[in-house]
């Protein structure tokens, strides 16, 4: 495979590769999740129980075996008693996660105001920093599922800390452009030497062969510069897209 073809394949691979799936990377990487039995306001208890079941299913889809079963969480809560039941700050939430021996805690309140039903969800980890989301339960199940996925995804991104991936890609882009600039400069030197007659010294039998070699070198330098500029541009776009996706 020619260098040009190889670089094209590499570029195509870079474009096609999506950022790593948050779900795949978070396969229990963020530890066990405890879902506290849902509370309810202006609605009957069965609505809260049903909503909790839907959230458990969505969480299991996303986190597979990392979601603690309800009876186990209930046993822990009964052991703990009412302490730390109502948290207002990060420290209290962190203590609650710690007391439940969970890496993350999900709480929910089913709401029945105004003729509709909604769910107020709050998800936090050992640092106590909560992500909150209101989910309307009256919509189609797939939309509810998407909103739950969105909450879990946002929390997982926050839980695993800043992702260095996009910065590495952007750094590689800068390196490629710099290397392309170096090869471009070398190519220009070669071109000037050939045009000025200094590339191969005086006349000799080897002059033609020497010029041929220097011209081939110049062409390789030009190809490398162009390939590196192209790769740099592609990496820059990929890194930017990845970074924006991370921020969302």
């Amino acid at each position: 495979m020619s260098p040009r073809a190889r670089s094209l394949v590499l570029l195509a691979a870079l474009w096609a590769a999506p950022p790593l799936s948050a779900g795949a990377r978070a396969e229990c990487a963020s530890g066990r999740m405890a879902i506290v039995p849902f509370d309810y306001l202006a609605v009957e208890a069965p609505v809260a129980r049903d909503a909790e079941q839907r959230v458990r299913e969505a969480a299991r889809r996303r986190l597979s075996g990392c979601v603690e079963a309800r009876p186990a969480t209930v046993r822990r809560l009964e052991r703990l008693g009412p302490s730390l039941a109502a948290c207002q700050d990060d420290a209290c939430r962190a203590a609650r996660a710690s007391a439940l021996e969970a890496q993350s805690v999900l709480e929910g309140v089913a709401l029945g105001m105004g003729g509709g039903t909604a769910l107020a969800l709050s998800l936090w980890g050992r640092d106590g920093k909560a992500v909150r989301q209101l989910v309307a339960l009256d919509g189609p199940p797939e939309r509810v599922g998407r909103e739950l996925d969105d909450l879990l995804g946002r929390w997982l991104r926050g839980a695993r800390g800043p992702n260095l991936g996009p910065y590495l890609v952007l750094g590689a882009a800068a390196s490629a452009v710099a290397a392309g600039a170096v090869f471009g400069a070398l190519m220009q030197q070669t071109q000037q030497a050939i045009a000025g007659g200094t590339a191969c010294g005086g006349f000799s039998d080897d002059l033609a062969a020497c010029l041929e070699r220097r011209m081939a070198l110049g062409r390789q330098q030009a190809l490398a510069a162009n390939a590196l500029f192209g790769a740099g541009a592609a990496l820059a776009v990929s890194g930017t897209v990845w970074l924006v996706w991370e921020w969302q």
């Binding site: 506290v36 039995p37 509370d39 309810y40 306001l41 202006a42 609605v43 208890a45 809260a48 129980r49 309800r70 009876p71 209930v74 809560l77 009964e78 009412p82 039941a85 109502a86 948290c87 207002q88 209290c92 309140v109 709401l111 029945g112 105001m113 105004g114 003729g115 509709g116 909604a118 107020a120 709050s122 909560a130 909150r132 989301q133 209101l134």
Partner: protein, 422 residues
Amino acid sequence: MNRFARPTAALALAVSALAAGGPPSSEPGAAFYALVIANNSSLDPARAPLQFADDDGAGYFELLEPQVNEALLLAVLDAETQRRHPRLAARARPPSRRELAAAVDHLARRMAEDRAAGRRAVLYLVYAGHGQKNPAGEGAITLLDGLFGRTDLFDKVIARLPATFIHLIVDACDSYSFVHARGALAAGPSYGPAITEQLSRRAPERHPELGLVLSTTREQESHEWSAIRAGVFSHQVRSALAGAADVNGDGRVEYTELAAFVASANQGVEQARGRVDLLARPPALDRAVALTDIRRSTRQGYLMLPQGLSGRLWVEDERGVRAAELNKQKDRMAAIALPAGRRYYLRGGTREAPFEVPRPGAVVDAGALAWGALPLAARGAVEDAYQARLFSVPFGPSFYRGYVASVGEAPVAIREKLDLAP
């Protein structure tokens, strides 16, 4: 009344009701109405006009109008109140005997249609203004063109309305004063207790559909609160009706919950002359009937106050109108109903969190709001010692149980903890 006058007034009421627009608030098999009467003026030259009865009328109207099928307002709003409630003046009719009669005629017709169609008809009848005795010695409320006595109330209003339930709310102490100038106004005999006593004595026997929420403050001052441009009693009742009094979180505010909420809001006021007292008596027909039910579909949005958020909290809108206030227990949740389409500030202590209720039915989670420092200008409103003692006691199940036990009423069911069934 001129025989042509009544149909004209009734037509105007119907037009103003139509102008209210919007879809009717819905509950299958029920129709809701509100008639709000507010009057600053006094017929007794010795008694100063009120400052904020019209603001209270506007406040009740804005609270109830999105919850009911039709709301009527009888009030002359002063310039400042019209500035703060710019769309209400065009919908208001004068608080006169004639307009009241027209309003009752109109509501009686609508309720008769509802009953014929098999629907329940529920009326909120609200009065804010002066009260005094009429020439017959009865307790009376003051309208622009005369007194409206107890007999008038029962014969010309209550008896004429084929309502399933009537929730009568009266903030009618005999004189108001600014909190900051207590005792400065001319003092006359107090008829507030007489009015409420007679109302409460007669009502249940003859009208089992009638529930009462009455201010029974026995002092001259009925405590208008200049900082929020409202009467203290009405502010507390509106807060309760907005959902702050829903102690068991079932979405309904019953009479005992409202009474306990108002009692807790005034618990910290030690001086008897500064306290607001009330009488809350549910309809004999159904003592557990709800005054408000935030589960109903209405044109309001909702602020959800989660567990963990605690202390004295109040909600003000962008006009500076204080919509609701409470002292929340930490382990209790609450939902406050608010008119939709406005920006609000949730305030507490020295901090505030802005939020918007974008559309009817929208729910805002107060736990997700971003808090900032409360501007100094807004802090001044709570610096007065009297105001600081209002809402100083947390309201929750423990206060409620104690209150209900003390008055001998049947409590609402309160769940003790989460459903931890496996």
